[in-house]
């Protein structure tokens, strides 16, 4: 196997497949350890089987200042149950070892910086890579502070996903894209994570700005919960990230009924959600197909 093949993560391969088939990808975020790690394992496999293209595993943090109430509560529940970064990395290993076609789903660890920094960048990158993670996104790390982090993760063949925001200038988007691998994560609106009814009007303009500076696949997140949102993004983005809406399903099903039945109910609800979002993503095909060249969509 050549070095290049080594360096291609599951993320890059999945986005290439999506591009070939003209589908919008669905990136599914849930908080690891909410309500338990056994449950998260089940949820990840269910969502991957239902068509989730990339899984973002949220590493619970005591002070999630970029998150809205839904993910704050999930983090609190996970921490109460003893979640740690080490345990989240173990979970990745368990997903990879699961006897399921879904076990090869691309996985991004989604964390605040402090837990990763405390483990040590080298130790973290080695452990995450060995466990089978494909990429890492750090909410409160911008390109300026990330040099050592990027070098360390790249040495372990982990993608570094950075966030672009509506407030980012063209110059910053370029820098962010240059630091990113796997995909670029565009935040749809100023704000914290959480489901909203409508996507902001200036989102297409933001996507066009991002397209101009990168060839990377672009995933759009924050406020996306409904198939309609995914349809709107068809032809503009490569993937939609859905998070709080999924975490909400888990909360609904498991707080009422915290036993195995509740966890099964949550898994079923996640399967339904992902299924309907993925259907909308597939119909993105026709809109995408209508334009010969994605570069033209951009301009």
């Amino acid at each position: 196997m050549s070095a290049d093949v080594h360096r291609t993560t599951r993320i890059t391969r999945r986005f290439a497949e999506l591009r070939d088939s003209g589908e919008m990808g669905i990136v599914a975020y849930i908080t690891a350890g909410d309500p338990s790690f056994a449950a998260t394992l089940k949820f990840v496999l269910a969502m991957a089987a239902a068509g989730a293209d990339v899984i973002e595993l949220g590493v619970p943090f005591s002070d999630p200042l970029a998150d809205g109430p839904t993910i704050q509560r999930a983090s609190e529940r996970a921490l109460k149950n003893g979640a740690t970064l080490v345990r989240v990395i173990d979970l990745v290993r368990e997903i990879r070892r699961a006897n399921s076609l879904a076990s090869e789903v691309p996985i991004v660890l989604f964390s605040y910086y402090n837990p990763v920094f405390q483990m040590g960048l080298e130790k973290f990158a080695a452990a995450a890579s060995a466990a089978g993670a494909d990429g890492v996104l750090i909410t409160d790390l911008t390109p300026e502070e990330s040099e050592e982090y990027r070098c360390t993760l790249a040495a372990h063949h982990l993608d570094t996903v950075f966030l672009g925001a509506p407030t980012s200038t063209a110059e910053r988007l370029e820098k962010i894209a240059a630091c990113s691998s796997g995909f670029l994560y565009l935040i749809s609106r100023t704000g914290v994570t959480g489901a909203k009814d409508a996507l902001p009007d200036d989102l297409p303009a933001l996507l066009r700005r991002a397209r101009r500076v990168t060839q990377l696949p672009i995933a759009v997140g924050f406020g996306i919960s409904l198939p309609g949102h995914v349809s709107v993004l068809g032809g503009l983005a490569d993937a939609a990230v859905v998070g709080s809406a999924l975490v909400s399903e888990i909360e609904k099903a498991t707080t009422a009924n915290p036993n195995a039945a509740g966890i099964d109910a949550a898994a079923a609800a996640l399967t339904d959600r992902i299924g309907s979002l993925k259907d909308a993503g597939r119909s993105g095909l026709s809109r995408r197909g209508a334009t010969a060249n994605r570069g033209e969509v951009a301009t």
């Binding site: 943090f61 005591s62 002070d63 999630p64 200042l65 970029a66 809205g68 704050q72 609190e76 921490l79 740690t84 970064l85 080490v86 605040y112 910086y113 402090n114 837990p115 990763v116 920094f117 405390q118 483990m119 909410t139 409160d140 790390l141 911008t142 300026e144 502070e145 950075f162 966030l163 672009g164 925001a165 509506p166 407030t167 980012s168 200038t169 910053r172 962010i176 935040i187 100023t190 704000g191 914290v192």
Partner: protein
Amino acid sequence: MVSQFTIPATVPGRFGPYGGRYVPETLMVPLLELERSYEVAKSDPEFQARFNDLLKNFAGRPTPLQLASRLTAYLADSGNGPKIYLKREDLLHTGAHKINNAIGQGLLAVQMKKPRVIAETGAGQHGVATATVAAHLGLECTVYMGTEDMARQALNVSRMRMLGAEVIGVESGSRTLKDAINEAMRDWVTNVRTTHYLLGSVLGAHPYPTMVRDFHSCIGREARAQILAAEKRLPTHLFACVGGGSNAMGLFHEFLKDESVKMVGIEAGGRGNELGEHAARLAAAQGFTGARPGVLQGTYTYVLQTDDGQIATTHSVSAGLDYPAIGPEHAWLADQHRAEYSAVTDAAALDAAQLLARTEGIIPALESAHAIAGVIERTPQFTREDLVIINLSGRGDKDMDTYSRSLGEKP
């Protein structure tokens, strides 16, 4: 006196390895805009004139440097007590040093054409200062405050509301200052185009630690001139309480190059050495556990945390010191042994407040009472030649419920 000690001219916003800018991308452009506006304001005579005018005629600067003669005599009685001066920031409008920074940032908000300011507050002093300046400058104002702090600093909640600010109680985490900052940052990231985050300490992402220090550096400039006028010599020691550390940096900054001047920051020792029982980030030598360098709320500094990087809960009787991280410049000063940091307990702070009230006729804020207690506890180590300035950063009206309880009265 020429000092070996110089602040390293490294990356802007770094104090040695500490500081930096660890925020969600959405906040980067506003932080860069703030940095630029502040740089312009620093050398803009019009801005400086306006700032100094408000400090003088609205806030009441300069504040006195008062000889605490009866406190001095009391401590001398028990051994080698030093001569003690109090920098009376408690006499400022709104009752604490916080107004200096609130005026500076309020003017910057106007300059940046942001019609709304938000703030976090622990003891309520920064919230009151922000609400006051917002009213004075015609800005809309929202203040986030942990519900635990709202209960113990009820007077300041009423003051903020009377000044027209919206006070939003924060129920998450330990319902104290840290949680109020999280919520303020969530508001800022959402309303960033119209809102300036008027952060109240030398914390957070660059440029806040530098900018907030600069807005408070009038404390040290005045104190240095005042002590030279009164005593014809520099002080031997400076004492200040340190939560985030803005009043301490305000006092220390002007003296950094005076090598003979020892600087002491007093942290909250709470009610025990174990993690969760205190807010002592730099007092590991006294046995306080759980502090290591890490990233919290935008900056790299000493943070009280668990082994796997979760931020610890803290305890202090003083809401303004009840915070798991310390300003990054303090972390650097500690590493360089340019300033030293130690902690005093809740009980020692309460006793010190009582002593100051009886000897000087001044009821200090619980935060400032920690600095008094720090001097009292070191009395045996002083000589009669020592000359101490304590930053009396705030007055104690807001703490009367706590003081009444500690005196055994029903509030």
